[in-house]
């Protein structure tokens, strides 16, 4: 297969081969490779987090793919016939016994082969049934998941109005403990950044989470006022991101926006995650829109399609207590429409 005169050398098509190398880029080449800025990196990382690998759905689909259809063909070798030396064995008195022995062996092989075939067929039937059951189960799970969120809208497509935290900007720092750079405060959703600024002003390192690309980008690209380290901004859903934070590694969690629009199980999930990541004794703050003011702040699509609605502050207090928080207290909205419920992570 070797050729001293490689045929490829003289058979290149004009412009793409050795005979006519591609011209140097004349249209302008952007020089220099390097890392994207942190804003661009987060923008791209947000897409990577949409990859299915690692999710329950991915794991299930992958397991389904790995269930190969069972081998239904027989692996039994065919009978190879009478022994070649049959006639050489002679017609002695022993021949009958010897021949009978051969026949018995052949019959035994055939019976064993039949048994193996029958067993394989039975196993195949069981595997096919298992496979069918799993497929039906997968279809049912898909259908149930579809009912949970039939519109499949992203937060950015559901323009719920960000709660106005005007009443709490000045006091939120007093609910937090002494700053410790090793323990950030999570603010999600970070929205226009007012709450982030207030927490930073209290000296805390902030981890901001925002599901709307435009708001996240604004937070990433506009330098925050007040000095100190810039907030780390994550473009994504608060519940998803809380799940990536280690236990008891935060000096507090401030939840706003998401707590109003998500459905009940996600609300409870947010509480559970917030209390899990918060150090014992540090605060979990819930800023929730007054129920009577909720509809007025919504666009018609959000009013129709938002899966959840605000809970009453007393309900939040109840859920916080049930989740293991201590000292839940309702701070009524003074001038605005946003209540605060503050509790401390239990031991």
């Amino acid at each position: 297969m070797s050729d001293p005169d490689p045929i490829g050398d003289d058979l290149t098509v004009p412009g793409t081969g050795d005979g006519d190398p591609a011209p140097a880029p004349g249209g302008g080449t952007e020089d220099g490779r390097g890392s994207p800025g942190p804003d661009e990196a987060e923008l791209l990382a947000a897409f990577d987090r949409l990859r299915p690998q690692g999710s329950l759905q991915w794991g299930f689909d992958d397991a389904m793919r790995r269930i190969a259809r069972p081998e239904t063909g027989s692996t039994v070798a065919p009978w190879d016939g009478l022994p070649d030396d049959l006639w050489e064995r002679g017609r002695s008195a022993l021949i009958g016994r010897r021949f009978a022995g051969d026949v018995t062996r052949v019959l035994a092989d055939l019976l064993a082969a039949d048994a193996r075939t029958a067993a394989a067929a039975a196993a195949a039937g069981v595997n096919v049934a298992t496979w069918d059951a799993l497929r039906y189960l997968a279809a049912r799970v898909d259908r149930l998941e579809g009912r949970l969120d039939p519109a499949r809208l992203e937060a950015a497509e559901l323009p719920t109005k960000a709660p106005d935290p005007v009443d709490w900007v000045g006091v939120i720092g007093s609910w937090l403990g002494p700053p410790d750079s090793a323990f950030p405060v999570v603010v999600g959703e970070s929205g226009d950044g007012v709450l982030v600024g207030a927490v930073r002003a209290a000296g805390h390192r902030v981890l901001a989470v925002e599901p709307r690309g435009e708001s996240a980008w604004a937070s990433l690209t506009v330098p925050a006022a007040g000095g100190g380290p810039p907030a780390e901004v994550v473009l994504g859903e608060v519940l998803d991101h809380l799940g990536t934070i280690p236990d008891h590694s935060c000096a507090g969690v401030v939840l706003a926006g998401c707590v109003d629009r998500v459905e009940l199980s996600a609300k409870v999930g947010l509480l559970g995650e917030a209390l899990r990541v918060t150090r014992a004794g540090d605060p979990v703050v819930i800023l929730t829109v007054d129920q009577s003011a909720w509809d007025e702040g919504l666009s018609p699509p959000a009013r129709d399609l938002a899966p959840g609605r605000p809970l009453h502050p007393e309900t939040w207090s109840l859920l916080l207590r049930r989740s293991g928080a201590v000292g839940a207290a309702w701070h009524r909205a003074a001038s605005g429409t946003v209540h605060a419920v503050v509790a401390r992570a239990g031991p």
Binding site: A22, T29, L44, G213
Partner: protein, 366 residues
């Protein structure tokens, strides 16, 4: 009568490898060479022009040359490797499996299998034909020693779109800013998500009215779903169109209605949209990966990195400098002539006939 026959896992219409195979068959017929296309899996749309590959055994003639159109995994590759005839591998590139790993384990395994098939078959091939210098290196690495580089055949010459198609596409324009176009399968190696990120930055900075049309098909459904979700997360749902199942007329209309083709693929064996854009006078902003730089050859802005801001800036510069746009379009026309796609079918036939002659003269061992 001995022939030059092709083996294609599946023969589809409006598919790059499918049209390439049909063009090569037609070219061989025009040269008086018997040529049949054998497939592993029949496509109802092309069944009347193919035969199942296992039938070849009873139809073989001494001196046949068998051309395998290699773009994916197929049992035919192993079957061909065991045939006594002269084997030619016409290689169109295999997307590296790592691109699919986070998305689809089945396709990942398929791509791993394809790489293994290539390693098995390439050393057995008397000749390899690659679409570009870039993928000829993959063929060489797999053990093929004789390689010719010939561009894909069967790409139709750029035709004017019908006025109706052009009106239809223009009427669906989503904004007053630059109209970005991206053409290609919605698969992870095509990196359409990076085009979305760049569009987002462009709208947040220089061009709030910029829009993007993604013409393609959801090769990897999970990736396609993530693209739509990402567009929504970025607030681009009203600025991005996902368009599939277009015919040649509508595709031409998309090229004519756009302001720029943005191509940020990580792995391209050739890059058909590049030459289509050249043919339609559409300037290109592309990431320098795979065969892109080789095919583009100066007929566009070639990016050595594709951070969203950098891409957005390149498009903005292109839009702000009409003279530069015109220059690039002119370079593109020249480049298209230099590539000579209309001659590719003829070149392929020449290469195969030359290989057969050399084989007959004992210059190539099989």
């Amino acid at each position: 009568m001995r022939g030059i026959h092709q083996f294609v896992p599946m023969l589809h219409r409006h598919d790059a490898v499918g049209e390439h195979s049909r063009a090569l068959r037609d070219g061989l017929h025009a040269s008086g060479v018997p040529s049949v296309i054998y497939t592993e899996i029949p496509d109802p749309a092309t069944m009347d022009e193919t035969r199942h590959y296992l039938k070849y055994g009873s139809e073989a003639e001494a001196g046949d040359v068998l051309v395998y159109q290699f773009a994916t995994d197929s049992e035919m590759a192993g079957w061909l490797a065991a045939r006594p005839e002269t084997i030619v591998v016409n290689y169109h590139g295999v997307t590296p499996p790592e691109y699919f790993a986070p998305w689809n384990n089945a396709i990942t395994r398929l791509q791993v299998g394809a790489q293994q098939r290539l390693a098995d078959l390439a050393p057995r091939a008397a000749l390899g034909i690659a679409d570009s210098e870039f993928i000829s290196a993959e063929l060489r690495d797999a053990g093929c020693t004789n390689i010719a580089v010939v561009s894909v055949a069967g790409i139709p010459a750029p035709a004017e779109p019908s006025p109706e198609a052009l009106d239809r596409v223009r009427s669906r324009r989503l904004g007053a800013g630059a109209a970005w176009l991206s053409v290609g399968r919605w698969a992870p190696n095509k990196a359409h998500h990076q085009t979305l990120a760049a569009l987002f930055v462009a709208r947040a900075t220089a061009d709030p009215g910029a829009t993007l049309t993604l013409v393609g098909s959801p090769t990897e459904p999970a990736y396609a779903t993530a693209l739509r979700r990402y567009a929504a997360v970025l607030g681009l749902a009203d600025a991005v169109s996902f368009v599939s199942h277009v015919d040649d007329d509508e595709l031409a209309a998309h090229y004519r209605a756009a302001d720029v083709l943005v191509m940020l693929s990580d792995h391209e064996g050739f890059g058909v949209p590049l030459v289509e854009a050249m043919g339609h006078g559409l300037p290109v902003v592309a990431f320098d990966a795979g065969a892109v730089g080789e095919v583009l050859g100066g007929a566009g802005i070639l990016l050595e990195e594709k951070h969203p801001r950098r891409v957005a800036e390149a498009v903005a510069r292109l839009m702000a400098e009409p003279a530069e746009r015109e220059r690039l379009v002119g370079v593109g026309r020249d480049r298209l002539r230099a590539i000579g796609l209309d001659q590719s079918g003829k070149r392929l036939v020449e290469v195969l006939l030359t290989a057969r002659t050399r084989r007959d003269q004992g210059m190539i061992q099989v």
